[in-house]
Amino acid sequence: MAQGRERTISIRSLSKRLKDIQAVDHLSLDVFRGDVYGFLGPNGSGKSTTIRMMLSLVRPDKGSIEIFGLPLQHHCKQVLGRIGALIEKPDFYEYLSAYKNLELLSFYAGKAAASGRIEEVLELVGLRERAMSKVKTFSRGMKQRLGIAQALLNDPDLLVLDEPGIGLDPAGVKDMRELIRYLNTALKKTIFLSSHQLNEIEQVSTRMIIIDKGRAIVEGAVDELLQQHHFHTRFQLNDPQRAIRLIKESNFEIISAEIDGPALKVFCKRELVPTINKYLNDNGVMIEAIEQYQRLEDYFLTIT
């Protein structure tokens, strides 16, 4: 799927040690133009450190980062000029208004954004009415939306969003998801999206990587990963204890099996389900229902 497409981000063997912890360990990944690239991992897996290295906030110990085909180390200014970023919770100059914050930040980019552009991005995130309010009066969700606005200010080609849904109410999360889709499809932005809200990644990402302890565990197109690998099946049956014993005695290539109330949860390849069904039936276990789950969250939890 990615073959022949222009690489927007190319990371090779990236490593970083923070005090006694190997935060990132020989991480490699590729993000292609037009991707919404999901960046997943549990807390402390090295996501934020990787993102900070991609944005020149943290210096890598080893490895290389190329963005837009340029080595970041040597073309930092040029590369950062084409990126918009929102890292963790957005912090602003609280004593200034939202408008003034955006105006100052546009000056830092070396060119002042036209007032029309500032109003445009504020409108896009629904903060135009509060443009002149001091940021210290904003709720967490409003700051998050202002964070998106500042990321979009200089009309970047690449957006790096670290947990953009944090602090937003359910309606805000939905709006954020729609905004990401709009930015990707209508405005052709490449998006690097890190999130703990895995269902968000599942719903908006085209490709993804899962990392743990600073290392890549799996990378690929979201659909392909879900289809070709493991998913979770819930067998509702009369005797879960007997069923799990039978499963464990069998030679099926499953990842894991566990009792979940009156049911048995089995993580395995999709094509194995009919065989397991027949096997349990043949051994006297009565199956009342089979529910299949292929949500990324289950996949993510299984791997990490």
Binding site: S56, L57, C76, D91, F92, L105, F107, Y108, G110, G147
Partner: protein, 278 residues
């Protein structure tokens, strides 16, 4: 660079804490004037009681210039503290507030940013020192009027009215150089910290300890004294001798400028390599 400096200045002057120094200076100067107004003549009589037996003092010696000279002594501790409250926060404050995450992910060169912040700190320092000088002299002259300036520096120096203002101008100019050195030190400490209080307290602790070493006449400290910035914090006094020792003035200026250069270079080098984890 001009644009970056303008932004940094805007950020400084948009904060309420930046005006604490002006309020404090007004209070310090007014209190000093009041003290001199009520006790000035007694103080002068006490200082000149032995000389009064041999000399006759005439004219308005408790005047605006004398009060202004007294105020200059605040350049030792009070004014540095007021300046450091702002300059010590310039980098650490951004780290503490988390604003580096939105600032340094823009195409801004870190060394340019440090330079802009130091220039902004210099402008702020200059404004403070000029405000101190102008407010002190204006209020002093309004309340006490003009007169000759009597200064006790290893003896009594009495300067005629016409020979005073240029000395104050240069003294305040040198005071600015001293304060610029302290601003550079606080910026260096600010670059190493992620909270604002640390650099402010540490800068003041360094000034206090170094001032003690500079003033204590002990053999053990004699070798390092000439290299301490605090040894030259009161170099403005050199301009209140009849014969100004230009060699001493030059040495003091060079040592302070060297301090500024070293503090700035270390700040730029350190900040340029610093991992932003806050």
């Amino acid at each position: 660079m001009l644009q970056l400096t303008t932004i940094e200045l805007y950020k400084i002057f948009a904060r309420r804490r930046s005006y604490i120094a002006f309020i404090a200076i007004c209070i310090i100067v007014v209190i000093t004037k009041l003290a001199v107004l009520y006790e000035g003549q007694e103080m002068l009589d006490f200082l000149t009681r032995e000389l009064a037996e041999s000399f006759l003092f005439q004219g308005n010696l408790v005047n605006g210039y004398m009060v202004c000279y007294l105020v200059l002594n605040f350049l030792w501790v009070h004014v540095p503290l007021l300046i450091v409250i702002v300059t010590g926060d310039l980098l650490a404050g951004e780290a503490n507030a988390g604003t580096f995450r939105i600032l340094l992910t823009r195409p801004v060169n870190r060394i340019s940013l440090v330079t802009a912040k130091y220039i902004a700190a210099l402008v702020y320092t200059l404004v403070i020192v000029v405000f101190l000088g102008v407010f002190s002299i204006t209020l002093g002259l309004l309340i006490f009027g003009k007169g000759d300036l009597m200064v006790f520096l290893g003896g009594v120096n009495i300067f005629p009215e016409t020979d005073i203002l240029w000395r104050f101008a240069i003294a305040y100019g040198f005071g600015f150089l001293s304060m610029a050195t302290i601003a550079a030190l606080s910026l260096l400490l600010s670059s190493t910290s992620n909270n604002s209080l640390g650099p402010i307290i540490t800068t003041m602790a360094i000034i206090i300890v170094c001032t003690m070493i500079s003033t204590l006449d002990l053999e053990v400290f004699r070798a390092i004294k000439p290299y301490l910035l605090t040894t030259y914090l009161d170099a403005w006094q050199l301009f209140f001798y009849f014969d100004i020792n230009t060699e001493e003035v030059f040495t003091a200026a060079v040592i302070l400028l060297l301090h500024i250069l070293i503090f700035y270079a270390v700040t730029a080098f350190y900040f340029n390599r610093k991992d932003i984890l806050s």
